[in-house]
């Protein structure tokens, strides 16, 4: 790498159906924010700047799930405009908490919630970006971890592979010297089937893992569910445990459906 840097890569931060929390993680990376802002050319980031340039972009960071006809088209346009497309957060990678509607009749929700339902046009399902276009990298979490985001940006700039593990939360949890809440307290915990990245935040505060980072690389949800039952969890509770922020990730979806009361 020469000290003369190449042209700064242009970056777009684009939102679909989401709460904006993942984009905020970038602004929340206070220690690294200036360095990041100096190393990239922010072309489109309505949440943070007036930059609203059109594509093409070197990197698109995509937040949110696809829930409308317009968004289903918009994501294709964005893909065509982006050299590298990275999804950030549970919504963009698995459909998010709003994917809970996928098990219900969305038209009924619309009728109940909105005074003038005829103005609302929405898809029946909330789906991840990867169901619509090819995705180059998925950053997990609800919300994402700012250190992982900075690591991803730094790795992309250096042309190296990011250090983003796909193994279980348990490995982080044990490295951090947390006492296992499942074994020592009998607290239901999704850590063994959930991807690391959060720093085992909940177990550090004596809570079980809620699965915010979605399924780990080889999630054995069946075996964990059997153990949750041994620990006294009902079918409904087991189903609900898997039906969280990553409910539509197929492994969690399957596990939740297996324990759903019919």
């Amino acid at each position: 790498m020469s000290s003369e840097r190449k042209k700064k890569p242009s970056v777009a931060v684009v939102k679909f159906a989401s709460c904006d929390g993942c984009q905020l993680s970038l602004l929340d990376a206070e220690d690294e924010l200036l360095a990041v802002a100096g190393a990239i050319d922010i072309a489109y980031f309505p949440e943070a700047s007036r930059a609203m340039r059109g594509g093409p972009y070197d990197i698109a960071l995509v937040e949110g799930s696809i829930t409308t006809h317009e968004d289903a088209e918009r994501i294709h346009n964005l893909r065509r405009q982006s050299r590298t497309l990275v999804t950030i957060g549970a919504c963009a990678t698995s459909g998010g908490i709003q994917a809970l509607r996928n098990w219900k009749d969305v038209d009924e929700f619309v009728r109940v919630v909105y005074a003038t339902p005829q103005f609302v046009s929405t898809l029946k399902l909330s789906t991840p970006v990867a169901e619509h276009v090819p995705v180059d990298f998925e950053l997990r979490g609800c919300p994402i971890d700012k250190h992982q985001l900075v690591e991803l940006i730094a790795a992309t700039l250096a042309g190296r592979k990011p250090n983003i593990p796909t193994y279980s939360v348990c490995i982080e949890c044990k490295r951090n010297a947390n006492v296992c809440v499942a074994v020592a307290r009998g607290t239901p915990c999704l850590g063994p089937v959930t991807q690391a990245g959060c720093g085992a935040l909940c177990p550090a505060f004596d809570r079980g893992c809620y699965g915010c980072y979605g399924p780990m690389e080889s999630p054995n949800t069946g075996s964990l569910a059997a153990q949750l039952r041994v620990m006294g969890q009902s079918d409904a509770e087991i189903s609900r445990a898997f039906r969280g922020f990553n409910a539509w990730a197929w492994q969690f979806r399957k596990a939740s459906e297996e324990h759903e009361r019919t």
């Binding site: 790498m1 000290s3 840097r5 690294e32 360095a35 990041v36 100096g38 190393a39 900075v150 690591e151 940006i153 730094a154 790795a155 700039l157 250096a158 190296r160 250090n163 593990p165 796909t166 193994y167 279980s168 348990c170 490995i171 044990k174 490295r175 951090n176 010297a177 947390n178 006492v179 296992c180 499942a182 074994v183 020592a184 307290r185 009998g186 915990c189 850590g191 063994p192 089937v193 004596d206 780990m216 690389e217 080889s218 054995n220 069946g222 075996s223 964990l224 059997a226 153990q227 041994v230």
Partner: protein
């Protein structure tokens, strides 16, 4: 060879032992209760010890319980081993910085504080010996481990109780703490108000510390009673690994149906390898900052249960959980013997207790060896 000094120590003298070691500049690390378990952390004095606590363990389950007799060491192993202090879970190996058109390498900084470990059990001494063999005695000596390991003052405690998950007796690694590797061996005898330690000094350094503690001479009867308590702990162990022919049996049953059965239960979460006191595998992670002016290399505990562990050009060698469980169990009980001459398992039972679904290594090994098949039978 120095005389083995054998004395009787009043129970309350444990406090003086810690103070004496602290007074000599040792950072004292010992058992203490945190978050519902006994863990090994820096302790200030005897108040920090888990006095009055014991534990109940079974596969996938651990609970602390109070005990009334005031025993200082009346608990079994907790989730952490001394590996955490000798071979930490994350270590920065070096930093590289860009400066004046060049770059320079900084570090690593070796740990050089003198430390004393209190309450090291027999199986844990065996585990430390196993890691010494891997990290110090092989062709590649690990300087960072050596710096942490060197000069550690070890107060071992022989076990006078055993958890249902313990099986050191069958492997010959406990429950009596051997004199090697340690400075003092304590055996706690508690029977109502009759509460004392058999304290044995191993070498001059241990003897010198014991001399400060107003230890009394110990009688034949004291030795006998302490020995009987340890013997009873061995006798009470319900799990075992039969080493005779084990390696050959495992090698002969590489395609046993049981591997498939255990893979259906195994979460591949890696907990067993994290709590194992002999597991030594690590991964290297290289980081560069956003500006490209600073880089770091970190070493972290890794696990043979992850997909990336066996990743080489083109993909992972062990793609199935079956292959990963088999790799781990066979390394512990068979291929470790090929490498190092002894099994890589010391019988501490942590992998049984801290497996979230309670997979029992002793049961798996027995099933694979007892019902040997050629892998072609249908379960």
């Amino acid at each position: 060879m120095p005389e083995r000094k054998r004395t009787r120590l009043a129970a309350e003298r444990v406090a003086d032992l810690i103070q004496t070691l602290a007074g000599r500049g040792y950072t004292v690390i010992g058992p203490t209760v945190r978050d519902g378990a006994v863990v090994y952390e820096e302790i200030a004095d005897a108040q920090d010890l888990p006095r009055g606590w014991t534990d109940r363990q079974e596969p996938g389950r651990y609970r602390l319980e109070p005990r009334a007799d005031g025993a200082w060491f009346g608990y079994n192993l907790g989730p952490q081993s001394w590996k955490r202090h000798l071979f930490p879970p994350q270590t920065k190996l070096f930093t590289a910085e860009r400066a004046d058109g060049l770059f320079r390498i900084l570090g690593p900084e070796a740990e050089r504080r003198p430390r004393a470990f209190i309450g090291v059990r027999a199986c844990e001494l065996a585990a430390i010996a196993a890691q010494d063999q891997v990290l110090l005695e092989g062709p590649f000596r690990d300087g960072l481990y050596a710096a942490r390991r060197e000069g550690v003052f070890i107060v071992a405690v022989s076990c006078t109780l055993a958890a249902p998950t313990c099986f050191c007796a069958s492997l010959g690694t406990g429950p009596q703490a051997p004199g090697e590797l340690c400075d003092i061996v304590l055996t706690e005898v508690v029977n109502g108000a009759d509460h004392w330690f058999l304290a044995e000094a191993e070498g001059a350094r241990g003897a010198e510390v014991l001399d400060r503690l107003a230890a009394e001479p110990c009688t034949e009867d004291d030795s006998r009673r302490a020995g009987a308590a340890v013997y009873a702990a061995a006798q009470s162990q319900t799990r075992r690994v039969d080493c005779d022919g084990l390696r050959e049996a495992l090698e002969d049953n590489f395609e046993h149906d049981r591997w498939d059965a255990v893979a259906r239960r195994c979460l591949a979460c890696g907990n067993c390898t994290m709590v194992c006191p002999t597991c030594f595998c690590t991964t290297m992670e290289d980081f560069s900052d956003v500006e490209g002016s600073r880089a770091e290399r970190w070493r972290r505990w890794d696990s043979c249960f992850t997909a990336t562990f066996s990743y080489i050009h083109g993909g992972s060698v062990r793609t199935s959980v079956k292959a990963r469980y088999r790799q781990w169990l066979m390394h512990k009980l068979a291929t470790w013997i090929d490498q190092f001459g002894t099994p890589g398992c010391v019988g501490c039972g942590r992998c049984i207790t801290w497996c979230p679904v309670g997979i029992d290594l002793t049961e798996e090994a027995r099933a694979i060896c007892r019902d040997g098949n050629d892998g072609n039978t249908v379960a």
